[in-house]
Amino acid sequence: MTTTKPAEPKTITLNMGPQHPSTHGVLRVKLELDGERVIHAEPIIGYLHTGIEKTMESKLYYKALPATDRIDYLAPMSNNLGYCLAVEKLMDIEVPDKVKWARVCLAELTRVSSHLVWLGTHALDLGAASMLLYAFRERESIVDIYEACGGQRMMTSYIRIGGLSKDLPTDFDKKVRNIIKTIREKIKDYETLLSENPIFINRTKGVAVISADDAINYSLSGPLLRGSGVNYDVRKANPYSGYENFNFVVPLGKNGDAYDRYLIRLEEMRQSLNIAEQAINGMPEGPYRAHVPGVVLPPKEDVLYKMESLIFHFKIITDGFKAPVGSVYQAIESPKGELGFFITGDGTNKPRRVRVRPPSFVNLGSLPKLSEGSLLSDVICAIGSIDIVLGEVDR
């Protein structure tokens, strides 16, 4: 007669590998499961490490600019803006008003484009597969503007040190007004599709909750922090590039779950369209580059006709400008959170240290906290609602 003991509960270790349709890139998550419940979720990153910071430190300030496009590739103009603002702070350059207004307009359109991609992929993960097609259809019109401005669909490098690379195109006004009108109506369509949908609400309400104190302790920023009720937006707290002249509202959430973050991002899209409209209505006239000889490249029309502009152009492209010894930090509100650039100059023409403070990297560190005790399918929802871009996490 043998008696068998009941089996003790054991945990399974499951690997959500780097190649997975829902991890938005090459993210690997090591899950420890007890049945369907997650006990511990540990993200393992580094599968897209490119050494962008070291590459930027080996080039002149101007030539390091295109590498910033590739950090967060869904919002390329925001990265350009952050880097240029940091270098302008280091060299103490003041830009004309038209540049500030144009930069704000483009940054807000970038925010709309990034949130559209987030909406498409997040809804695809949760089951609403047609949202991906709608989101990418709207994104095509914004990418059309990028192509008109900078010549390239995604990595434009349009925002340069001291201004813009070329003047705004002549039909910029008409195109942006068209986009604002179209996307405003489409956002109403997305709301009817998703906001009251019982399946969507069941999958996102009460999922991936984080409290306000925990959010501050984990150094979170962006919609992840504002979903828990903390009112911190870099555009309102420390305004840059003329944001103090625009009227907009920063939406806040209450519960800190995935549904609140969804509503916050939808509302941010609407507010961004408002800001873009104000920027277009009040766009001032003037030069599109600052006039700082020796540091900022002269405009191309002058280079072709004036001698001293040609000489400055040649000197700046081959030799660069010498930066003072010291460090600056400039933070902007990118669609993912607080994106910061910490640049240290050391008296030569190359930076000593370019540090990108990546919002997705710091936000992803809270994934174990967001997913403890939840079901396996809620981990997918948590990863989607943090809104990560792997190019920024690994750099």
Partner: protein, 171 residues
């Protein structure tokens, strides 16, 4: 805000603060490595200053520059206060023979991954960190890539493909 914070820090930690630097309206306090944990704990818990947000931890390698004589590695802590909307920095200078400093993980949980990254890329050891391992670089890579004596690349591009000599295919 800047003067009150400076006088508060100077009273409480008289030996800890070595210098106050200001560059482009940005204040950084150079402090001793031993005093770092106590200063951060006091600033976070204090009622008046309430610095609750640790934005960033990074490091600068001053190899080959005249600033190296005060310490080759400069670890920079980026702190922000929500109430006063004020940002300031704490600098710690370390030498390469003893690159150790206390970890801030008990105070701010967000410091966990930031310190792991600084360890991975520069080799600074944070004492008291729960899991100080590599995070971004591949496991086979030895050394710390962002130091100035680590080369950027080991190979240069060469252009050798032509029709008479097609490339070898890897099987």
């Amino acid at each position: 805000m800047k003067d009150e914070l400076t006088s508060f820090l100077n009273e409480r930690f008289a030996g800890g603060i070595l210098a106050v630097e200001e560059f482009r309206s940005q204040i950084s306090y150079r402090i001793k490595p031993e005093a770092l944990f106590l200063i951060c704990e006091t600033l976070q818990k204090d009622g008046q200053f309430a610095v609750k947000y640790l934005a960033d931890i990074t490091c600068v390698d001053w190899l080959g520059h005249e600033r190296e004589k005060e310490g080759r590695f400069e670890v920079v802590y980026n702190l922000y206060s929500y109430r006063y909307k004020y940002r300031f920095f704490l600098n710690v200078r370390l030498n390469p023979d003893r690159p150790k400093v206390a970890s801030l993980t008990p105070i701010w949980k967000g410091a966990n991954w930031l310190e792991r990254e600084v360890f991975d890329l520069f080799g600074i050891i944070f004492e008291g960190h729960p899991n100080l391992t590599k995070i971004v670089t591949p496991d086979e890579l030895e050394g710390h890539p962002l130091r100035k004596d680590f080369p950027l690349t080991w190979e240069q591009p060469h252009f050798s493909w032509n029709k008479d000599d097609p490339p070898e295919v890897i099987k």
